[in-house]
Amino acid sequence: MALETYIIYKLILVVLVFAITMVIAMYSTYAERKVAGFLQDRLGPNRAGPFGILQPVADAVKLFMKEETIPSVSNKTLFIIGPALSLLTACMTGVVIPWGTSLSFFGENFSLQIADVNIGILYLFGVVSIGVYGIMIGGWASNNKYSLLGAIRASSQMISYEVAMGLSIIALIMTTGTLSVGEIAAQQHGWHWNILIQPLGALIFIVCAFAETNRAPFDLPECEQELVGGYHTEYSSMKMGFYLFAEYINMFISATVISTFYFGGYNMPFIGRFVHDPNWLALCGVAFLFAKIFFGIFFFMWVRWTLPRFRYDQLMNLGWKVLIPLSILNIVLTGAWMMRHEILNVFIK
């Protein structure tokens, strides 16, 4: 492939992924309110446009038009960096996600993954870990005790759950034998979904994903009943919008990562029987991945409007005393299963 076409195709892919991420995050806010309404026997927003479909636009206009206040006692540079960092890291994770197999035009093969780096999982975890700085910096720079408490809660929660999350991923890496996200997705063709191989690991990963995205029942960093809004108490206008937006992008990315790691990514069993053209097959794969992601997002919302919030000690107990031992057990079991022939041989001899 010529360098120019390569660059243009990658740029198009980047812009497309960015735009889709933004639109989905935007409409997640609408979906959240709509789902919340329906789960609570209400209708949700339905005034702006048909079925309230323009509500996110109205919200965005509102956020942009609002007066922007920066507290005089705050650290102004960090106050601005906080939400920017939050949104930046949220957007960066989409790079290593395989959105589909590949399309071929004019004899060229175009992969639907922006960067198939061979350490994709490490990249993902690195970026997600930086995400906590956005919250931490924002909460600290506000110079407000509620913000600081929210930020401390957020960082300790995210660090605690990152351990269990990483350990659950180690078991996955053991079975797949690769750190590349693209390869993990490709391995799950047919019914070889990782959730069937790693059910416990998937469960731990999903629970940790809830904690990592600061969503109910782990939304302690911003519990409005105790902390007036948590780390973004002092934020107004689009800076607060950035934080909220980052949260929804994180939710979208989490749903994507869960579907890619454990639910077969763009793979769907039996689709090969009905569709034969490879290009259509790839597009079907993209559609299936997004179907899984949308269900994942719905699942996030469903849980939020069902379960009450954890108490802080319960949260820490669950993280350190339940999930981490369980994920270590998962690693041991996975290792034992992988080495079962060798172990059996030892006993037979």
């Binding site: 789902v35 329906f38 789960l39 469903w302 849980v303």
Partner: protein, 200 residues
């Protein structure tokens, strides 16, 4: 029940009350996941339930037959105001919301005012009014009625002093306000009987 009363606790209002037992949770309960799934099923069942929302401006809840809303000052068949400014409504009003200035009808105004005396000025303070309907009961001339219209919200208190321009109904047939729901046959029959103290 016997146990409860013996412990001198409150009488249960329903038979659904349960005595709370703080026992050790079983493993099944400790896992939490079954409880979480059943909870999520409950919320999901609500997803498809019929919503009781009434879409207000397009859809309105029906008022009861005797709803008491904004007042109307009635005109008679030829379009003359029925009110004679006797002041009985103002006296009957428990909230003291009604004030009026009486005037004498001039020659040539027979089409405008039904009797020799009429209200030059008639004001109801809608913020004071409690919509009890006593003014309507007190009126001997069938002039004031409460209707099923709601008093509109305003931005300032002054706008809630409703004068004759708002209260008196229009002369044209289509501008007349229907009060048949409150001025029923029974009410008219009752008002005919002068032996009742109320109608004197």
């Amino acid at each position: 029940m016997y146990l409860l009363s013996k412990k001198r606790t409150m009488q249960p209002l329903t038979n659904r009350s349960k005595v709370v037992v703080k026992k050790e949770m079983s493993l099944y309960e400790k896992i939490y996941l079954p409880a979480i799934i059943s909870g999520m099923m409950i919320t999901f069942s609500h997803f498809f339930r019929k919503k009781p929302t009434i879409q207000y401006p397009e859809q309105k809840r029906e008022f009861s037959g005797t709803y008491r809303g904004q007042h109307v000052l009635k005109r008679d068949e030829i379009g003359a105001e029925r009110c004679t400014a006797c002041g009985l409504c103002a006296v009957a009003c428990p909230a003291e919301a009604i004030t009026m200035i009486a005037g004498e009808r001039k020659k040539g105004e027979e089409k405008l005012y039904r009797e020799e005396k009429y209200a030059v000025n008639y004001e109801i303070n809608m913020l004071r009014c409690i919509f009890c309907g006593d003014c309507e009961d007190a009126c001997p001339k069938e002039a004031i009625f409460l209707t099923d219209r709601m008093v509109k919200p305003e931005n300032n208190r002054g706008s809630f002093f409703y004068g004759k321009d708002i209260l008196v109904e229009g002369v044209e047939k289509e501008k007349r306000i229907d009060i048949s729901r409150r001025q029923t046959a029974e009410v008219l029959e009752f008002k005919k009987h002068k032996e009742f103290d109320h109608n004197r």
